[in-house]
């Protein structure tokens, strides 16, 4: 039961019940295809919002973070067994696709849906 574990594991999280600002979370981020150097073959859209995940993974992985069991175990290993084993990382959990209108090398115009292009949520794993 996580209650028994948390009472035994010291950490900043125990002091605050809510999420701290530096904890793993989704950060909005927008670029233009011009910045990526792709504007000479991408017609639309002009702007692209990939977002990104950043933050530390709390010692106790709340249910909302959708972390797999392995992440909990890796945390405990880092804390109780071997600190050279890294804590779980804050990475995207869910993605959504993006539609792109582009010009191919032979001049054809292509509408294409690319999967996993926008991070929609984050997890620790």
């Amino acid at each position: 039961q996580t209650d028994s574990i948390t009472s035994g594991v010291p950490g900043p999280f125990r002091e605050h019940d809510g999420l701290k600002s530096n904890q793993c979370s989704l950060h909005p981020f927008q670029v233009s295809f011009h910045q990526l150097g792709w504007d000479h073959w991408i017609i639309a859209p002009h702007l692209y919002t990939p977002n990104y995940c950043k933050g530390i993974c709390p010692r106790v992985l709340q249910y909302g973070l959708n972390s797999p069991n392995h992440a909990i175990i890796q945390n405990l290993v880092n804390e109780l067994v071997d600190q050279s084993i890294p804590q779980p990382s804050c990475v995207p959990y869910k993605y959504v696709p993006i539609s792109i209108l582009l010009v191919e090398a032979n001049g054809s115009i292509l509408y294409k849906e690319y999967e996993d292009m926008i991070a929609q949520s984050c997890t620790c794993r």
Partner: protein, 243 residues
């Protein structure tokens, strides 16, 4: 690596699928062919706006029915000698192979059914070229469903999926040949008609609709038999143990 050309940047990580695809598909700046302007580009922009929102997110209610649509330009337009009231332009469309993971689900030829050439007002339609027997003669296949184009009143969209699919599975170089046939509306002979002033892009272009079979194949592989029908969008939920 600011300032380096983006292609060089991408070369560092060829193993990532998207980047590899971009390396193969994206034209380099110097190689870029002039963009297809005019009706084809406007048609694709309209199709894009109907299928994706301003941020590029695919619309939930999109009716496109495919994850990839390619607009193909005709290779050449050859005006055939006059024969009776008809004037015929031969249009050849290259059917280039795709990445393996895409399957052709629809093919539509979009053409101008009303044409003004010089002082002539013409009505036109398209006939796929079908080889019948050792001597190929003028096709009269018909039976293709047509509808007014979503973009221009003077244009028509004709569904030629079955015809193209027969060609699609052939080996070697595949070219779809269409006849673009015009008749002066009053039915009299057309004299001195100057086709050559008309670019084939002004008369017809081909749309090929593909679906990405890769994802569905992967999902089918991962799931034990009999579970597929329970599969919903959140497939990873099905595979994870609840805590």
């Amino acid at each position: 690596k600011i300032g380096q050309p983006s292609n060089a940047l991408m070369a560092d990580a060829p193993s990532l699928p998207l980047i590899r695809e971009l390396l193969e598909g994206a034209p380099g700046k110097q190689q870029r062919k002039p963009p297809v302007l005019g009706h084809p580009l406007r048609y694709m922009l309209e199709l894009y706006q109907r299928s994706a929102d301003a941020r590029g997110r695919p619309r939930e209610n999109r009716t496109i029915g495919a994850t990839m649509v390619r607009l193909v330009r005709p290779l050449a337009d050859v005006a055939r000698p006059l024969r009776g009231p008809w004037n015929i332009q031969t249009l050849d469309f290259p059917l280039r192979p795709n990445q393996v993971a895409y399957q052709l689900v629809q093919a539509t030829v979009v053409y101008r059914h009303q044409l003004h050439l010089a002082r002539f007002h013409l009505s036109c339609h398209v006939e796929p070229w079908v080889q019948k027997g050792p001597t190929n003669h003028f096709p009269s296949s018909g039976g293709y469903s047509s509808k007014p184009s979503m973009l221009y009143k003077a244009w028509t969209e004709m569904d030629i999926t079955q015809h193209v699919q027969r060609l699609w599975n052939k080996k070697g170089r595949r070219v779809l040949r269409l006849y673009f046939m015009c008749q002066q509306q009053k039915g009299s002979d057309i004299l001195e008609l100057q086709w050559h002033g008309t670019s084939s892009l002004d008369t017809a272009f081909l749309l090929l609709y593909f679906n990405d079979t890769h994802e569905s194949v992967q999902k089918a592989k991962l799931l034990p038999r009999g579970l597929e029908e329970f599969m919903d969008d959140d497939s990873s939920l099905l595979l994870r143990r609840t805590r």
